[in-house]
Amino acid sequence: MAWTKKDLLGLEYLSPEEIELILDTAESFKEVSTREIKKVPALRGKTAVNLFYEPSTRTRVSFEVAAKRLSADVINIATETSSVRKGETLIDTGKNIQALKADIIIMRHNYSGAANMLARALDISVVNAGDGWHEHPTQALLDIFTLKEKLGKIKGLNVAIVGDIAHSRVARSNIWGLTKLGANVTLCAPEMLLPVGIELTGAKTSSNIDEVLKKADAVNVLRMQFERDEGTAFPEQLDYFKKFGITEERLAKAKKDVVVMHPGPINRGIEMSSEVADGKNSVILEQVTNGIAVRMAVLFLVSQAREAKNEHID
């Protein structure tokens, strides 16, 4: 099958086949990062712009590394020091970047739906690097890629997503991707952090971490986003660790080979103990490595699609 979308906005909008195509392409790209010369000429002469309205180190750097390994030129715009501070709108910023003849905008924004809006306004590709509480598609893709690599398949797996579901775009993208590929997803969090109606996505919910862990083939532990705390929903940090934190004692009652994931950055001693984060079940650093391959695949595919489309219009 061919990739037709100029943008990657969320996993909600992709078919299972499109998700599989990204994962398969990423598998081929993984080899590039093991070479002595870690670079291929596929996006030579293309320009990718990192446009980040929220602080991010790992996602921005991961995209930058991915684009550079494809030989694209990368420009980073930190909005704190840009015209955004002078009141420029998102669409105007996007159109200016398009007028510079950039090819791909990789955007992180604090408003849900910002990437969709920008993609509609522009002819160039938009890759969503996280928008508000909506989606973070490349994070979910790299989580799913890592799971598939570790366990050989996705269909039929029991995957637990634990933590701050309410504020998490990582959770939403994972729910879409995992359910589309046939996994059983259980969301586990204090009730205050489980949004009303989230079951409509096909995921189950629970507030009993020990029960959930017993059945899980993998557990994706989310970061508690205390910076988004508005003073009501969040439990005390120590209380949360006691009731939901992933510790060696809790893990001892889970399946022996349960895969432990975390999108980073970790709050050690809040979501999980240091022993678990650095333990034998943890694949946290492999997720980071796989993130490069997945983002290379995404950048390659969207740039291919856009050209196919332009050719069609001509």
Partner: protein, 179 residues
């Protein structure tokens, strides 16, 4: 596609590959430092068969690899059918080796140009030689094969189809008219 003529059958393909294997050994004076790398997809199967022949003749195992050239294509920007990126699998050091690059059909030479760039990103071999099952002419770049299974004069309106058991379930080389 309208089939016009069968150029090689199963025995023909097998004899051509055997002869190429003999020529490779002769030219390289044995198998020291020798390895074969096939270009995806069908070049990989031909490369494996060449390696098997060489093993039968010389009694020595030689290293084989698979090269995907998609990311090095010069027509990525205009490729009408979207090429699928596949894995490059070369699990050995190519530095100072005598590499035999293998493909099914040699036509414009652009695939081979891409393959040479891809290989040189992986290291500095002592030499790179080229073996193809079919050379159909119409080169657009200054590239020639060292070992050729069969030379087939064709017109640009024709296409050459190589069918192998591993990928196509049959063993033959056909010329067809493009429609």
């Amino acid at each position: 596609m309208k089939e016009k003529a069968k150029i090689l059958d199963q025995e023909g393909i097998s004899r051509a590959i055997t002869r190429i294997a003999h020529e490779i050994i002769e030219k390289n004076k044995g198998t020291a430092g020798l390895c074969v790398i096939g270009i995806r997809n069908r070049g990989v199967y031909i490369a494996q068969r060449i390696a098997e022949c060489i093993k039968k003749i010389e009694g020595k195992e030689i290293e084989t690899g698979a090269l995907d050239i998609t990311l090095y294509r010069d027509d990525l920007a205009l490729a009408s059918g979207q090429p699928r990126v596949r894995k490059t699998e070369i699990d050995f050091d190519i530095n100072e080796k005598n590499l035999v690059l293998v493909d099914d059909v040699l036509y414009t030479g652009r695939t081979i140009r891409a393959a040479l760039d891809a290989l040189i990103d992986l290291g500095r071999p002592r030499s790179i030689q080229l073996a193809v099952l079919v050379d159909r002419g119409h080169r657009e770049l200054p590239i020639r094969a060292d070992f050729v299974g069969k030379n087939i004069p064709t017109s640009n309106k024709e296409s050459v189809e190589v069918c192998l058991q591993e990928s196509d379930g049959s063993e033959e080389v056909l010329i067809a008219e493009r429609q």
